[in-house]
Symmetry: C2
Subunit: 137 residues, 2 copies
């Protein structure tokens, strides 16, 4: 557990019980989670507290928000190297049409695209939908 505490304090987050639990949960998950999922699977706590916990994590560069096209916001741990304020996650997110889970593909980088004249890119988000490795037996 010292491990988790360190992760939090490294990001200047006060390691409270709630936050350690949430971080532990996120660490063990392979897929991105919605708030509702977290709420259901972590009996321990209130939705709003989770909401704020995740928000804190996001602001400190510990998790990133994923809009996977379902309309429901999901979250996943950042790889190392995200800063408060600015995330530099440029990996693809994959939504499985079969199991409905959203996964980060940290090795798969979003290619640069050439925009029309005068457009300036600042961030980009690529969602690929299809059948994930686990479902593609």
């Amino acid at each position: 557990m010292k491990e988790l505490e360190k992760k939090l304090s490294d990001k200047q987050i006060n390691p409270t019980a709630m936050r350690l639990l949430a971080l532990d949960y996120l660490t063990k998950r392979s897929a991105a989670v919605s708030l509702t999922e977290m709420e259901l699977e972590m009996d321990r706590s209130d939705r709003v507290t989770l909401y704020r916990t995740i928000k804190t994590f996001e602001e400190h560069g510990l998790v990133h928000r994923i809009e996977d096209g379902t309309g429901i916001t999901k979250f996943a741990l950042c790889q190392q190297g995200c800063d408060p304020g600015h995330h530099h996650d440029l990996h693809v997110h994959f939504f499985c049409n079969s199991c409905k889970e959203t996964h980060c593909l940290p090795k798969t980088i979003i290619p640069e695209v050439v925009l029309p004249e005068a457009y300036q890119a600042q961030e980009r988000e690529l969602i690929v939908k299809g059948i994930c490795a686990a479902c593609a037996v």
Copy 2:
């Protein structure tokens, strides 16, 4: 107006007054619109009717749905060549951090990405955020 009627009947959509109005509105818009925007700007009508109108358009391959990361679903006319059920819009969508509008970039195609072993891609959606041409004076 015959023009608009034809567009509808070409897609097997019954050209009612409401639908002609909605199509006209969409045709004149350069940016993608949310339901709420349509509701406000087209005084003529009820939100639910618009909702169903857009849904019909979408099902018949006349408009496509855009999840631009704001959490609010937006819609824009398809270029030609979309079929009921399957849209093949592979263009990039651009969200302007300044004016908050979302634009289709029909000339800018989403590049193919190489996925990890065993993942099968079916659709892809790329949102680029930044400053649009109009705001980038």
